[in-house]
């Protein structure tokens, strides 16, 4: 990568990602400066281990440097695209260590989805619709989906945490997803 000029302070995130695609390292730094705290939070919610979350962010930014050209602003928000890269990097690490993190981890909180927390989801129009559709789900399905997406829990871990049989959880999550899809359509 070349250094490139420092990105303009008001450069949009999609513009920075486009500059990363052109090999401008300064633009990658710009993405890091703006998004690292949010993305580190996403990784740490899944891994609940700051060192591993840092490894996930490291992997994700190298992937971003190599794959920035694949970002298409017409197909989704830059923030969501970046979070997707980070989530999958964190999930890869979680899978590699066998997802042995305890499900009674205090980092998970007492309730998987305190209703008030869902307010944070509703910051955008898409988020408001998603919250409404999540609230329409049966509570266990909703909790299962949030535990998986936000905290990277496997079927087995969700089953242990919600004290439900594994087969039940698998079916619930699958049906919950399809129900969400129908609700959001």
């Amino acid at each position: 990568m070349r250094d490139g000029a420092a990105p303009a302070e008001d450069a949009t995130l999609p513009a920075l990602i486009a500059a990363v695609a052109r090999g401008e390292q300064a633009a990658l730094r710009g993405v890091y400066d703006r998004q690292a705290a949010r993305l580190f939070g996403v990784a740490n919610a899944i891994l609940r281990d700051r060192e591993m979350a840092a490894d996930a962010l490291h992997d994700a930014f190298l992937k971003l440097a190599a794959r920035a050209a694949q970002f298409d602003p017409a197909r989704g928000a830059a923030e969501a695209w970046l979070a997707g890269i980070v989530r999958h990097a964190a999930l890869d690490l979680a899978r590699r260590r066998g997802r042995e993190m305890p499900t009674d981890d205090p980092g998970l909180g007492d309730t998987p989805v305190p209703p008030a927390a869902l307010e944070r989801v509703a910051a955008s129009e898409e988020g408001r619709r998603l919250r409404e559709c999540l609230l329409a789900l049966e509570e266990s399905r909703r909790n299962g989906i949030v535990l998986a997406f936000v905290h990277g829990l496997s079927h087995a871990q969700i089953a242990a945490r919600l004290e439900l049989p594994l087969g039940t959880v698998k079916g619930w999550i699958r049906r919950g997803l399809l129900q969400l899809r129908g609700c959001l359509a």
Partner: protein, 241 residues
């Protein structure tokens, strides 16, 4: 994994992939299938978009000091990265065909380049003949897919590893000169090897990004790619020629 996955199954698989509940083997299988399976890829993109707002439930947190330095140290060094993808040709480039005819019709040479599709794309001649430029376009799995050579203002493509394209999709070729913000279409690459060109004020130059996207019939409806990038590479001076 092919396009033969039933729709409901594909939706559930894509949803669980995005949710993160797939086991390692299944997640890897989905990742491996994504570049070839446009329907699965679209399903994954839709799930990413549906569930994205949930990421707000993860509280932001400052990363450890020094993380950026670690990332920076692991980045590919300047210039060296594209050069690493260069594969010098052992044989000299095939003789230039009659350019005036090519300009109108896009002749396809069944050239010495083994693997089938080869196209010669005439671009605006460079004011001064630059050195020969090359790149190898890679798939998302970093597999070499196309050899691209630029010489005297023209661009030559040869498939290294021909693979079928879905019957309802076409491949479109794009160039992004250094400093440009949007790629310029260089035309479609249909299977039979004839190509319609939109001549633009594009001169191949070192650092120019060359990419091939998967597009609906007739090409992207926009002045920029609408479909996923299938292959990408960056022109650099040819070595060993």
């Amino acid at each position: 994994m092919s396009g033969a996955i039933p729709e409901a199954e594909r939706e559930a698989l894509a949803g669980e992939y995005v949710l993160g509940t797939l086991e390692a083997g299944a997640a890897r299988a989905v990742e491996a299938a994504l570049p070839q399976d446009a329907a699965l890829r679209a399903a994954v993109e839709r799930w990413e978009a549906r569930l994205a707002p949930l990421a707000a439930l993860a509280p932001p947190e400052a990363p450890p000091e020094g993380l950026w330095s670690r990332i920076e140290a692991a980045l590919p060094p300047a210039v060296a990265a594209p050069a690493a993808t260069i594969v010098p040709l052992r044989q000299p480039a095939p003789a230039r065909p009659d350019l005036s005819g090519l300009w109108r019709g896009w002749a396809m040479g069944s050239t010495a380049l083994a693997a089938g599709l080869a196209a010669f794309l005439l671009l605006r001649p460079a004011p001064e003949a630059p050195a020969r430029l090359m790149t190898v376009l890679l798939t998302q799995q970093d597999q070499p897919a196309w050899l691209v050579e630029a010489e005297g203002g023209g661009l030559r493509l040869a498939a290294l590893n021909p693979r079928p394209v879905a019957s309802d999709r076409v491949l479109q070729l794009w160039a992004l000169p250094p400093g440009a913000t949007a790629p310029t279409s260089l035309g479609l690459i249909p299977p039979e090897g004839r190509i319609s060109v939109s001549p633009g004020a594009i001169t191949p130059q070192p650092g120019m990004l060359i990419e091939i996207t998967l597009e609906p019939p007739g090409g992207s409806p926009y002045a920029r790619p609408s479909g996923p990038i299938q292959f990408i590479g960056r022109l650099a001076p040819a070595t060993g020629s």
